[in-house]
Symmetry: C2
Subunit: 136 residues, 2 copies
């Protein structure tokens, strides 16, 4: 179950408002991006949050992949988004497809700034990425 | 959308086989653990993978939270599991609940070894955790 987990935290998103507000529209865009990246969707779950005193509610779009998962959360009142693309490398190395998928989603949201992180997961030995291995 | 993303990659899981094989059983256990930790589920998606030449198929259990998400993937043929608990701190700091949820799930799977990682997400300034901030 070794794999690659990419995260990106986006601020100052200048995209069309529907990508931050419309769970179905965002979800369909996610499915298109998953296909275009050469990954395989096996399930989907899109959720809209109600408006609050801070502004309109955000959305969550999750796509389960044969290779692991994609999760997006939007905060329209902050023009902010968090992205997770996690691919296991069971059977083949899917790292390239994961990067392609993340890049496509970054392009969708048009952020002013992005905070990225890459975590190599599931290695028994310390992978040098700050992970800590221990008995539970 | 500042928050805490905890991951744990488990090897040598000595739990009852159903936690690695039965998506509905694992999903219900996840929902119970979410409630017990004081977090709020707003959606769920459980998926079973078919058996392969390597052994029985694993499962994915995803719970969308008001506070963000929980994702679990199991690899029964390797007695391995990956856990993600991501909570945003919109409105309140949910870090303590996230740690409680992760600990409950670790106890469920009874792993021999655990590789943990904690990522502080959504900060505009570098948080010292290896994140890289840039224009997209």
């Amino acid at each position: 179950m070794q794999g690659l987990h990419l995260t990106a935290d986006l601020h100052g998103c200048r995209c069309a408002p529907r990508w931050l507000l419309d769970a179905d529209a965002l979800g369909e865009a996610c499915l298109d991006a998953v296909r275009a990246a050469g990954l395989q969707a096996v399930g989907r779950l899109f959720h809209s949050f109600p408006a609050t005193a801070h502004g309109p509610g955000g959305v969550t779009a999750t796509v389960l992949l044969a290779e692991s998962h994609l999760c997006i959360h939007t905060w329209p009142e902050q023009a902010a988004v968090t992205l997770d693309v996690y691919v296991c490398n069971f059977g083949a190395d899917h790292s390239s497809q994961a990067r392609t998928l993340l890049d496509a989603l970054l392009a969708l949201f048009e952020p002013a700034t992005v905070q990225r992180h890459a975590l190599h997961r599931g290695w028994v030995a310390d992978d040098g990425d700050g992970a800590r291995i221990s008995a539970p």
